[in-house]
Symmetry: C2
């Protein structure tokens, strides 16, 4: 039920055994010892300057096979913001400039508080490389006609498996996680914490409402007949979240993704200040706006041109490329002339 | 022309003089020397764990007045990802766990490549403290009626000064920065790099189109009569950006903010992969969607309910609070019961 955040997928493999460096495993064989000084970088696959993460491809000296090293600057820990940590005599300060009340510096804190989260994948497969490589992304303006001729046949052909959704709705899975359940087959829904959320921290609150009615693939299928369902999800969802987590409705971002990650209607609830993945204008549609659009024009989502983003590696990209709606980036124009 | 990114406002004061620590100024008086070891922290105003920034309030030993220290982990510099930098013998590696092909570590690189961008504001005013404090934010659903009765009178009362916009349009300011200029008074516009952008790096590309026609305050004022203007901005803006920066239209996010930061119609152009501030669904409206909405219903933006986000400290919040549309967060329900 999670919308694919690469980093966390890799950083938290299921059932991770805690094995120390050089420690012997059950067979008495020493685990392979990897050291960054033996890493020979060959290519930077991705450098996110906002989140301060980078992924480097390379290999280890005297070892065959490709390795990936993913580095991520740590967030500030509040207990290091004191005279033992950043504000100690060990912090070296280099001045860039000082102007009136503003000063700009670079601080070099002692190494022990300035760690960098490091993930090594070795040996890495082609799939790992593709996953961590910066992908060329495009916006496609999907007209009603494009949806019917190109997107819909693609959705039907791919036949996404929705069994896990039905398992939740029918009470066979994840029942202990259910926050709210309205059992009406037409207007009911189940509210569960998203897998990306720890279920506790308000700052990253993230729940999903999964409607009980089957066959509503996405936003595109909505019309005036769904207004009671949509209003119920909004009003009962807000109420349940306020009762359980004390976050008021005015601080919730309640939205659909288009395209969604699976084609059974579901609605995201996140804390407004949480920069969750995929909340950008080209991907997310606020539930209130959807309700308002349908109230103004019952067949709004049948007629509207809806944008969606797509990576060049996605099969749907090929469909739109073949039909002349979008072009791959030519490698020789990837850099700005300076 | 920048849409208020606190960090960059403060880090780039206009006409910053480069003065080195201990250097004497024009009057022969030594600049005050600030050192982090003398900083006594009292309160963490904001800790952004995504972007790895933190703002700490406190004071300097033996000095009166409040100081703010803003720390931001630096992004990875590509020339430090080698055997002299992160992959050197000086990088110390602590193992968290190793499981099959996945290993999780903490790396402690040599201090000199692991700087932290540091801004000190001293003495800081109440306004600085408010600006850097984490603010309670709410979404308001602005109906057509709310706009006319509450928002519009507020905009008219505040009388935002637009002289700097007219200076650009009339060729009195920033002419060397203009990327494209269509001088038609009705359908023309000026395209300039946003102040947040360095004008070179594709990854953070950010330009603004400012329309020549005066009196269009925002999205709310648009109707069928503006379609030629809007299409011209879209088509000529895309063309100019492709010619100058080689970024194709399908990789541009082209959008309005609502509410905008100033009430003279302008359109943002950012690189699709750039996580620019304010690109979230509750704040940004894609130009293509706006055009499509008006084509479907000429008075769409007169009739629609439009969401906008607002901080409790903003004067417009008071207007909506007084009229019962939103409530301040009560301090005692700020935390989730664990």
């Amino acid at each position: 039920m999670s919308d694919g955040n690469c980093q966390s997928d890799v950083n938290e493999p299921p059932c991770a055994k805690k094995i120390k460096k050089d420690e012997k495993n059950d067979n008495g064989v020493a685990e392979p010892v990897l050291d960054l000084k033996d890493f020979i970088p060959s290519k930077i696959l991705n450098n996110n300057t906002n989140r301060k993460t980078v992924c480097v491809q390379g290999n280890f000296k005297d070892k065959s096979g490709v390795a990936l090293v993913i580095l991520e600057k740590n967030a500030f820990k509040e207990d290091e913001l004191d005279s033992e940590g950043y504000f100690s005599a060990e912090s070296d300060l280099k001045t860039f400039f000082q102007n009136d009340i503003y000063g700009n510096f670079e601080c070099f804190p002692k190494s022990s508080i300035n760690g960098v989260k490091t993930t090594i994948i070795y040996p890495a497969t082609e799939k790992h490389i593709a996953k961590f490589s910066q992908q060329e992304v495009h916006i496609i303006q999907e007209t009603s006609d494009c949806y019917n001729k190109l997107t819909l046949p693609h959705i039907e052909k791919e036949q996404f498996n929705l069994q896990w959704v039905y398992n939740i709705l029918e009470g066979r899975s994840e029942q202990e996680r259910v926050v709210y359940d309205n059992k009406c087959e037409k207007e009911g829904f189940v509210l569960v914490p998203d897998l990306k959320w720890d279920g506790l921290t308000k700052e990253t609150l993230y729940l999903l409402a999964i409607v009980r009615q089957r066959g509503i693939k996405s936003l595109r299928d909505l019309d005036g007949s769904h207004l009671p369902l949509l209003k119920r999800v909004r009003d009962e969802g807000k109420k349940a979240i306020f009762e359980k987590y004390k976050v008021p409705g005015s601080q919730l971002r309640i939205y659909f993704h288009y395209q969604p990650s699976f084609y059974h209607l579901h609605i995201h609830f996140t804390y407004l200040r949480h920069e969750a993945p995929g909340i950008y204008a080209e991907k997310s549609h606020l539930l209130d706006t959807v309700i308002n659009n349908i109230e103004m024009m019952t067949d709004y989502y049948k007629k509207a041109t809806l944008p969606f983003t797509i990576r060049e590696m996605d099969t749907l990209f090929n469909v739109y490329e073949t039909n002349g709606y979008v072009q791959k980036i030519k490698p020789d124009i990837k850099l700005i002339d300076k």
